[in-house]
């Protein structure tokens, strides 16, 4: 699966260390623990899912299904919610990321962003459906759209934040 896709974005980059990957995931959990309240809760983007996509695409050897599951469990505990909801959605996200990885890698950054938006939307909707099945109140319409939208908007900034050195083979921004 890996070998046949053109890899313009990933061929010439310096891999970050495992510690840095873990630290970034930890930071995303800290972001979750910030004192969100009221409206903030409805629009808080899911940074953990975003990083899961990012590392799943650029460091597939470091991101396994087990790590996605564990992150989901920690996220559930952090949100004082039923254990397993995010574990389920992140496991599903992991499968989607691995499935679409070659395709996403073949795109420039803005087109990648659309794919990331789709992945985040699917994750969010799966979470909403599971909550609905478990009998929780139906969220208002903005919940289904705004969080993934804000998350996807953060995608173009991730390489600058997460990569050790600027990518030598960075593709030019599509006009």
């Amino acid at each position: 699966m890996d070998s046949m896709a053109p890899l313009p974005a990933a061929t010439l980059r310096v891999s970050p260390s495992r510690g840095w990957i873990h630290a970034s995931l930890g930071l995303s959990l800290i972001f979750l623990f910030l004192p969100w309240q009221g409206w903030g809760l409805w629009i808080r983007p899911d940074i953990t899912a975003l990083l899961l996509i990012y590392w799943g695409i650029f460091e597939p050897a470091e991101m396994g299904a087990g790590k996605a599951f564990l992150l989901g469990m920690l996220s559930d505990v952090a949100q004082s919610h039923v254990l397993g909801i995010h574990a389920l959605t992140y496991s599903a996200l992991f499968v989607l990321v691995q499935y679409y990885r070659p395709r996403i890698l073949s795109f420039y950054r803005l087109n990648q962003m659309l794919h990331v938006l789709m992945l985040l939307l699917l994750t969010q909707w799966l979470e909403g459906l599971v909550n609905g099945v478990l009998g929780y109140a139906w969220p208002n319409w903005s919940w289904w759209v705004i969080q993934p939208l804000l998350g996807a908007l953060g995608w173009p900034f991730l390489p600058r934040l997460l990569e050790r050195a600027p990518r030598p083979a960075a593709p030019p921004q599509s006009p």
């Binding site: 949100q79 039923v82 254990l83 992991f94």
Partner: protein
């Protein structure tokens, strides 16, 4: 045709590790949801994962804490004095009420003894600080400083100065989880202050909103009526303010009135709350059928 081409899969036959592993983890997650949501068997896992996330949680509190400490240092003398004066006035205003209440309690105890009714339960409480609300819009819960090590127990009612806020439903070593009364799982026996009508108030799952589903359509209820706990369940003491009715809709086709109420106790205004000791008399009641009853796992009450 070469044999290779006729059975191409034989050469590399192996299960797809991606789908297999993810499927196993997906099933594991579904099992977790089932065990936690329906059977409440994952309390230990909750505790362990919570301890793992504790350092992250502490780190996330640093900016908030710094802000609060800075704010405390920068508070001016005038503001403190004004606040102090306001508090003293409030205290004076309440002093008469408190004295009256002491007298009333004494009279009531005497009457109870005369009528051989047994002592009315005394409720004590301790003040704790709120850490924050649950980080999920689906969940009506808040977190409290203080847990098992501070002697808190699941099943304790939690109040603010505005009224009943919720109930402790899960206790960690140094913090506890309070389920707000607007949570779908909670049902509170209430009475309407103006008429004394007893009924049930249920959480709707929306922030600060209750519904009263079992009020017959001929009943005298109005918007603005105040709900108090009726104390029938023995868990919440009688007479705590719960909510104010915000809408009363009568449908000609329905035998019940559609009523929604707004919870009086807000979670965002006051950092400190009162945790009352759980009523032990409630735990000595005979249980219905032979179910093991533990307040940790069942925030809902038996319907009276």
């Amino acid at each position: 045709m070469s044999p290779l081409k006729s059975h191409p899969s034989d050469l590399f036959s192996r299960p797809s590790p991606l789908w297999l592993r993810s499927g196993i983890y997906g099933l594991l997650a579904l099992t977790c949801i089932l065990l936690d949501h329906h059977y409440h068997r994952l309390e230990r896992v909750h505790q362990i994962l919570r301890i793992w996330t504790l350092p992250l949680q502490e780190l996330a509190r640093v900016p908030l804490w710094t802000g609060r400490e800075l704010g405390r240092h920068l508070t001016t003398l005038e503001r403190l004095q004004a606040e102090n004066d306001a508090l003293r006035h409030q205290l004076l205003g309440q002093a008469a009420l408190v004295q009256q209440a002491t007298l009333l309690t004494r009279d009531l105890t005497r009457l109870h003894t005369l009528m051989q009714l047994g002592n009315s339960p005394r409720f004590t409480g301790q003040v704790h600080r709120l850490i924050g609300s649950a980080r999920n819009p689906f969940v009506q819960k808040v977190l409290l400083e203080g847990g098992e090590n501070q002697g808190l127990q699941a099943g304790s009612p939690v109040l603010t100065d505005q009224g009943l806020m919720g109930q402790i439903t899960r206790v960690y070593p140094d913090e506890s989880e309070v389920t707000l009364i607007s949570n779908r799982d909670l049902t509170i026996p209430v009475e309407i202050e103006r008429t004394g009508l007893r009924t049930l108030a249920m959480g709707t799952g929306h922030q600060g909103e209750l519904s009263l589903p079992y009020v017959p359509s001929q009943t005298d209820v109005r918007v603005g009526d105040i709900l108090l706990t009726s104390g029938i369940d023995g868990l919440y003491p009688r007479g705590l303010t719960v909510a104010t009715l915000t809408s009363v809709t009568r449908h000609p086709s329905s035998a019940f009135v559609e009523i929604t109420a707004r919870v009086n106790a807000g979670t965002d205004t006051y950092p400190d709350v009162l945790v009352m000791a759980p009523n032990t008399a409630f735990q000595n009641l005979p249980t219905l059928d032979n179910q093991r009853h533990s307040p940790v796992h069942e925030p809902t009450h038996k319907k009276p």
